[in-house]
Symmetry: C2
Subunit: 412 residues, 2 copies
Amino acid sequence: MATPKIVSALAPSAFPDLPVIPGVSLAGGAVGIRYKKRSDVMLAVLDEGSSVAGCYTRSLTASAPVDWCKAAGAKGRVRAIVVNSGNANAFTGSAGVASVEREVAATAQLVGCKKHEVFVASTGVIGEPLADDKIVAGLPALLKAVKPTGWKAAAEAIMTTDTFAKGATATALIDGVPVTINGFAKGSGMIAPDMATMLAFVFTDAAISADVLQHELTRATDRSFNCITVDSDTSTSDTLILSATNKAAHRPIKDKKDARVKAFRRALEAVLTDLAIQVVKDGEGAEKFITIRVTGAATSKAARRIGLAIANSPLVKTAIAGEDANWGRIVMAVGKSGEKADRDRLMIKIGGVTVAANGQRVDGFDETPVAAHIKTRDIAIEVDVAIGKGDATVWTCDLTHRYLDINAGYRS
Amino acid sequence: MATPKIVSALAPSAFPDLPVIPGVSLAGGAVGIRYKKRSDVMLAVLDEGSSVAGCYTRSLTASAPVDWCKAAGAKGRVRAIVVNSGNANAFTGSAGVASVEREVAATAQLVGCKKHEVFVASTGVIGEPLADDKIVAGLPALLKAVKPTGWKAAAEAIMTTDTFAKGATATALIDGVPVTINGFAKGSGMIAPDMATMLAFVFTDAAISADVLQHELTRATDRSFNCITVDSDTSTSDTLILSATNKAAHRPIKDKKDARVKAFRRALEAVLTDLAIQVVKDGEGAEKFITIRVTGAATSKAARRIGLAIANSPLVKTAIAGEDANWGRIVMAVGKSGEKADRDRLMIKIGGVTVAANGQRVDGFDETPVAAHIKTRDIAIEVDVAIGKGDATVWTCDLTHRYLDINAGYRS
């Protein structure tokens, strides 16, 4: 497959080593959906007995694959996940629904499972018919190619405008038994809650029932993917699927209140946060990674809304791209969030330096350290709105000329 | 004053001829607030007996001048309006409040009126102390300079990153007596409801009481400035003031239900819409003017929210900048608006050509006329969401490299 020519300035040095997860095999391959000689289909096959949970876009124009996954997910079982890049199969009407049905039927037959154990996702251009025949024709070769070490190939196959493949891993001990959580994701436009990433697939060997998985996935998503934004646009295809092969030798967790789930919870949140941050770091055209910490809000939800108002403000994002510590625009964004803030007690720090307190610029403010910080790749903004105790952390990136270059010519 | 070097591609050929309005005199001058040798203060003086109404930003971090105008506006009388560009006097704490007080006191003394008859507005950088002493020192010369024909000079003095001065005029007949409405406005970043423009000042010789003026202004604003967006950012300083000198010879209108107000209403809406569209056409970096008509929504409010979701989508705006009729992104924006839409009955037209109907691309779609339309400066998007009878029209511009150039270096 072709490696993108320009890699994000914020990219990690390499795709992480993801360990084998018993019961999961994956492969990526090129079937010519849209890109030429580029990997564009991913197949993950899971052993019998695997449970599944999902979080999906809240868009009211969700794609046909999302509709399918939501319905299939109710059964809580998974044997195969098929994902293509290059075409989102969104707003494709009844033709799109038929594409999903053919893709699912072919996969179920090939893998030897029920249709509702097959999950599909598509990412890429919206509104054009999906060449599902190419995917179906490519499935036998993919099934032959799947292997327990196929993580990177799988992660690469789901990329669209992503400039690097995104993977993360963590382990947890349940009853003293180590379990692994691996995940991979793709961005990198239309990134905004809720859901933030377009596609993410997470796998574990832990033995956890579907309803507990769903509970944990929803919680962790709220604290990771739902706290990031690149451009405030919400995809019609956002899909996050967590599959558990139940192969680990601990006693299965079947109850949400089972205290043993806590270690898993921490590891899951770590993997999702790692992936979410990688999605931001591959935000289209991103040159700076921005962490926004909001404290003193009425509630945590209010804090997140304020953080996202700052994160989504084109004026804040362009100021940071221009290495201008224009904190006045942060004030503006707090004001437009619609959430309570005490204008005359507002505190703003940039790079750990207090630039404004009690509603105005600090006396004798020395911009030197802030100007130095704003020239780095990792920007920290802290805002205290002095109303209550709600807090949240939100991650975003700057808005650069390359974002426009990428998006003004995506289809062509 | 210095004329900006780059003028918006969408600018009108000239500032319109605004007729004299009996009882109004205006001037603009340079006092060195921020720009060198550029007009940066505007003074409008009104005869005794003038009534006033205002609409202000809903930002929860509104500026000190906005706080002042809201309070003064309750009395419904106006004798002077002082506006500076270059500094917004926003998030300036108690120092900002004191600046307003000095500015108002000096103006009231000079003009010979009550303090609550003085309105002030400031636009420009946020969070830096306002050099109100320079404004106060400049007031006597401005008062000498005011004249009934000072419209263009006034409009130019309130510009910040605007590339052209924005004016509009209309007339109406009340009791057979012609009345005039003149207005001028400035944009051109932080343009989003509610309020859309940063500053707009509208004057009429009609004899209308303050409460009727307020009623009409609120209504017309909702159908004009609150339907435009450039970058979704809401200013802390948005101010729209409508003053009436009551000089026209018709019997005064003192009751909201007085049928004679209708002609005035139409003319006022025409002036505000004209100004609002000029603000969009001077949207920072704008190269294309985009009209979005939404029909079939649950309510008019829902239609406007859908329209604004489309108008604010960076992906829609960059696609149009790139002359790509990427209607899939319009679908995405409809979906993220949170308002009801029937995905499988959605209809989208671009340039009058139906590109999608019944939830998918039209059969045998020929992109040629749409591709030709998208290369023009005036883009028309129509969306029917097939739910109800609510409709709205929203105006915006594309998102270009120049927006980034302007905003990445605004303070420097």
